[in-house]
Amino acid sequence: MSDIALSPSTLPPSALPTSAVPALQFIDVRKTYPGQAQPALRDLTLIVPRGSRTGIIGRSGAGKSTLVRLISGLETPDAGQLLIAGQDAGQLSSKARRERQSHTGLVFQHFNLLAQRTALGNVTLPLELLGVPRERREARARELLAQVGLGDFAGRYPAQLSGGQKQRVGIARALATDPDLLLADEATSALDPETSAGILELLTQLQRERDLTLVIVTHQMEVVRAATTHVAVLDAGQLVESGETRALLGHPGHEVTRALLDAHRPEVQLAPGEVLRHVNLKDLSSQTLAALAGLGARIVLAEAHPQGVDTWLALPEAQAGLLAALNLQAVGA
């Protein structure tokens, strides 16, 4: 371990650890797949605070899954360091790596359940690999299935479950070994919006109850907004910005972030001289509404969620620049 690389001054201030040892620390990490000219990740320096729900967002090919594969030990960095709970993941013996892996939960986009095992059998698998006796692992699996709302489905095979139910089994399986770190790579991308919301809620709830560090990979800003406390934006293998979700979405500092925010911009008719702006407000109290009215803003779309109110404003072009001030005021109000 290099002391210099670890010194806090080299880390982005918005991502400073909340406790002494962060859950994850990427230090100048580079990863190039064999036969590829461009690295999938380069010079990645990022801290994932312990106990956070951190979103990793970026366009297709940005390197999000590569980041997850590094954390889950499916790949190792070519250069730089990845510290997991302070331990250099690149320096682990294969036994220590497997030990580490058995305490990292992974949830997949396409569930990756074993088709020839029941829900119960899927959840017991990680424990079976660790040599936990049958009775104990089945008791634990039943408990977990009940926690994800599938208490009555233990004997069903994946083919007999809906997409959302399969993902719940996937989550129960990821939690079987009582991990401190849970990784979800596009865990809701294969599901309809309502089912997705349920899965995100479950992940958030489990993260709180179990004091997990949750890493959620997604290409959808709604997911980041609905379920994360922190967010890192990747583009073309590089970190473009990171910080607390509310602050970062309120003041996107980078064009890529803005583009991702605009990805679900509403279809609206703007009057001549009006521009559309997207802001995340703490609330829509009479104070906030009055402030908005003072700017001549029209609320086009507002959606409330745990992180605040997600608002689309049609603003007079001349006032668009004042938004930052308003947003600060509104968030602080």
């Binding site: 030990g73 499916l74 990756n112 074993l114 690999l129």
Partner: protein, 218 residues
Amino acid sequence: MSWAEIWPLLWQATLETFQMVLPAALMAEVLGLALGVLLTLTRPGGLLANRPVNRVLDAIVNIGRSLPFIILLVLLIPFTRLITGTSIGSTAATVPLTIAAIPFVARLVDGALYSVPGGVIEAARAMGASTGQIVSKVLLPEARPALIQSFTVMLVNLIGYSAMAGAIGGGGLGDLAIRYGHQRFETDVMIATVLVLLLLVQGVQWLGDWAASRADHR
């Protein structure tokens, strides 16, 4: 010939066929499974990816499968004698049958294991499973229906091969058909033998299909 005469002949020949085919099938399944697993693991991108080893195994399997059984039978006579102490009889016939079936099984097993989705293997790897655990707890169980099918195909093939093995004194149904039906123009025996063979193959296939579909939860 009367039925009273044909019946004991048929019974005896059927037993001999089983005596040749069953031990050969079991041994070939064990060895072919091992070879098939090695083929899958050493593939490029596999868990134990190793191109040279994979090439060599692949070549052995291909040669084994392209060699006509009747030639293998003759080529293996010294080897058979070495192992069983004789080169005639059903015990002796088991040796070439086993050898012929191994590459056949290996290829089918390789195909069956290859069809296990990569995501499932990745999930197991991410749980910290060792290669041995991935084979025993993921690859083989997930491919079970296809493995049962491949065992069935192998059995049917061995029943066919066993008729040829009869030519070196292995006995069995094929031998009976040739000795009586063909050489002595006993058409009744010929027809009865063919019927028994047909029933045997149908029965094995039906049983295999049933077992495979029962084992499949997809």
